[in-house]
């Protein structure tokens, strides 16, 4: 699964730490999600989408083989 979290952060100009604070997780979590090392829960994905004002499908995309 790939994601556009980094792009979305750049659009609103916030750091990983700031995003983590806004949605109530650690910076490690945000970093791992961006690098594709960790798949967030539905709740966390929805919180991220709500924060950026986008849909979950705009932030997270399935890849071949998923």
């Amino acid at each position: 699964m790939k994601n556009r979290i980094k792009v979305a952060r750049a659009e609103v100009n916030i750091t990983q730490g700031e995003l983590a604070e806004k949605i109530g997780v650690t910076r490690q979590a945000v970093n791992s999600i961006e690098l594709g090392k960790y798949v967030p829960s539905t709740l966390l994905a929805l919180k991220m989408a709500q924060y950026f004002g986008k849909t979950v499908e705009e932030l997270f995309m399935l890849e071949e083989g998923d």
Partner: protein, 169 residues
């Protein structure tokens, strides 16, 4: 989002490390002074003149006398209890920053520790024989708990280190 239902409050972690430190000191003292001190039941009986240790008296004293032989080393038992309590406090108390990612790390570390501990026991079963195997069995009581603690905190540290050098853009 985070499921910390079975975890202890984060304050227990500090207590756990204190208990662990005291236990390590007791272990070192026990091995240094083993020949000179005898913390067996017989010795305690002499020290405190406690008739209850001979099975006389109430239900509690009866339990004591049936659980321990007269020459069992009570200090080792006490050390064992402290090691388990310390391990549980350190390994299963909440972190200051706990989220679903840390929870996932904890879960994976638990599984990894099971694999590692099983591997160690398997190796010892094949290559350790006779009386030394008694040490293997004794250490195996605590090893899974402490292997889990090492796995979890190592993964936490490696994760923190990997993001430390990343530009926070």
């Amino acid at each position: 989002m985070k499921n910390t239902k079975f975890l202890l409050p984060s304050g227990y972690k500090k207590s756990g490390w204190w208990i662990f430190g005291i236990t390590v000191v007791l272990i070192i003292l026990h091995f240094i002074f083993q020949s000179q001190c005898d913390f067996s039941l017989n010795n305690l009986r002499e020290l405190f003149g406690m008739e209850r240790l001979e099975g006389k008296g109430d239900l509690f004293s009866g339990f004591l006398s049936s659980s321990f032989g007269p020459n069992d080393d009570l200090l080792l038992t006490f050390i064992g209890i402290l090691l388990i309590v310390a391990g549980i406090f350190i390994g299963f108390s909440r972190n200051k920053e706990d989220d679903e990612f840390i929870e996932q790390l904890r879960y994976e570390s638990l599984i990894l520790s099971l694999y590692i501990n099983s591997g160690i026991v398997l190796f010892c079963l094949i290559f350790v024989w006779g009386l030394p195997f008694l040490w293997v069995m004794m250490i195996n009581i605590f090893s899974i708990l402490y292997v889990f603690i090492i796995c979890f905190y190592l993964r936490l540290y490696l994760n923190k280190r990997s993001i430390r050098y990343e530009k926070q853009d």
